[in-house]
Symmetry: C2
Subunit: 342 residues, 2 copies
């Protein structure tokens, strides 16, 4: 089955993906930080008992993954696919994951909150993603009875999520803005608008391959709809700025040279670290948007980006590989995917 | 007409080309260093008067180039094609060049000696090249009467050429020996055997793209045949060593990676300095000999190597280009020549 991330969507030259995440807790249990292992398992059981019908109602075939049962590689791959947080796999006891077959809908059980409902979509698709999350939330609420306060909204373990409990985020590719050195200033302005911009793997992480995550910070005092509209509007401003910066940048023969060489390296290298791959991929993406590279689609790159991540790349072979072996396999995978069309 | 350097020859994986050069002086004139401009022109006229018939007898259509009449670019291109020495174009007065249409036979008039007869061939072809040079020498001697001493042999302006007046040289591509750091030791051993090994543009020059010139140093006390046999035998030892070193080297995935990336860069770059081009070309040549790069012939590379040299690359367009413009044109030329076969 095609995964959601094997496609590109609206504004796909700059916006890689959309994510809506809802933090929810079941009224009758303490927050996860206060749960005994026994209670965690009860929460897990409760969620699993209710989720089947809900997933069916939103039309998403799914599976349940007991986090204690899977290998380290499988777990890290889930992080690489942005399905779970790094914290979620650091201690797997009493934790589980509901995952739709196309991987666009997932529910982490017993992460920071009892439920972290997550919906992802390719490109800019805030309304669509929110609509699915909202539907699933409503269905689950009917069965699980979420902790809710008239004044504070949804109750969450961390007060920064109180209110809507919603984090909407967009994965943005901003190589030209990064190159022109304005990202520090951009981040400052965004924080005044109630938004945060961070590296690809969330808080504290470096922007790998110029991929940034833009998300709302405010969950109290405004509705989900308002938060999403605000995020979408500002994101589109960034998209315009990035596009203008790319146009300017790609007039330089040096930039064109660097973009085209990146393609040549990806099509020919015999070893590729993930870091180098991400850097070269970033160049290729500009090459496509600026018309320097024909015959390669964003879809293909989006799929490839996930497929060659350090843990995910080991999944098809089912063997643990050394970093050097992974680099060789990554180069081969990339080479085959991007082979020049005759 | 196809030029001699647009082909590859015997032992073409390591031996790029063969050159035989004979230094000759006309008895009735002082050496060029002692010639007035007027006398130089007389020498030029004498050579031109005799050479036509001789070139016809060896079956080489040719043209005469008065060095005073050509542009700086044309002159530098002659150096790049190894047809004349850098010294020859530094002062062009009273100097001329006889050049066969395929550029394999050339005669510099009034370089260090009155005549420098030069015959070039692709690959290892010492006997064939010598045979042509010898024939031409004999024919010219009948008409010009070369300065010759029973004891000292052919008289030359520089005593290092006394005797046969012959310099036989081979252009060798020795990237693996260079990489394994043995070239200093090799050069030492060779000098004890009466041979010298130098960078591609002769004495004092650095080896560009791991291309070396191997030549005999001794012109007194042994025959041309002996000198050529000695050179050929030792060259074949170097060829064997280079091949063994390449085999070892190319087992490394790092080497394979570097070779394949080089191809990717050459096929995609938008700017290429000549120096980078030569370095990458060197890798490609190993890639071909070690079976890592199919579909590219040494012929093509040999032709390309000459075609994109700094002055030669400007010849087809007939315009003077800045270094940056040349880098762009070089990248385009290389890209088109090495375009991947679908």
């Amino acid at each position: 089955m095609t995964k959601w991330y094997e496609k590109s969507g609206d504004q796909g030259d700059v916006i890689l993906s959309t994510r809506i995440r809802l933090a929810r807790n079941i009224k009758e249990y303490p927050f996860p930080g206060r749960l005994s292992l026994d209670q965690r398992q009860k929460v897990e059981k409760a969620v699993c008992g209710s989720v089947g019908q809900c997933m069916q109602l939103i039309g998403s075939p799914y599976r349940f993954i007991n986090m204690e049962d899977i290998s380290k590689t499988d777990a890290v791959s889930l992080v690489e696919r942005h399905l779970v947080s790094p914290e979620f796999i650091s201690d797997t006891r009493g934790r589980g994951l509901i995952l739709s077959d196309d991987e666009s809908v997932s529910i982490m059980i017993n992460e920071e909150d009892h439920l972290r409902i997550q919906v992802m979509r390719e490109g800019l698709a805030l309304d669509q993603a929110y609509s699915v999350a909202d539907k699933l939330d409503t269905l689950l609420n009917e069965r699980l009875d979420f902790a809710f306060d008239e004044r504070l909204g949804y109750l969450t373990q961390c007060p920064t999520n109180l209110g809507t409990g919603m984090r909407a985020s967009l994965m943005l590719h901003l190589p030209a803005l990064q190159e022109s050195g304005v990202m520090g200033r951009v981040a400052n302005s965004l924080s005044k608008l109630g938004l945060a911009i961070r590296g690809i793997y969330g808080e504290g992480s470096e922007p790998v391959g110029a991929i940034y995550q833009l998300s709302n910070q405010v969950t109290l005092g405004l509705s989900e709809k308002e938060a999403i509209e605000n995020l979408g509007r500002i994101a589109m401003q960034l998209v315009s700025q990035e596009r203008a910066a790319r146009k300017t940048l790609s007039k330089n023969i040096e930039t064109q040279d660097s973009i085209c060489r990146s393609l040549g390296i990806l099509q020919n290298a015999r070893m590729l670290t993930n870091d180098e791959f991400m850097k070269l991929l970033s160049k290729i993406r500009i090459g496509i948007s600026e018309g320097l590279i024909p015959n390669i689609s964003y879809d293909k790159l989006n799929a490839l980006m996930v497929r060659v991540q350090p843990a995910t790349i080991m999944l098809p072979g089912g063997q643990t590989l050394s970093p050097a072996q992974r680099d060789v396999l990554r180069a081969k995978t990339v080479r085959e995917a991007l082979a020049p069309v005759g």
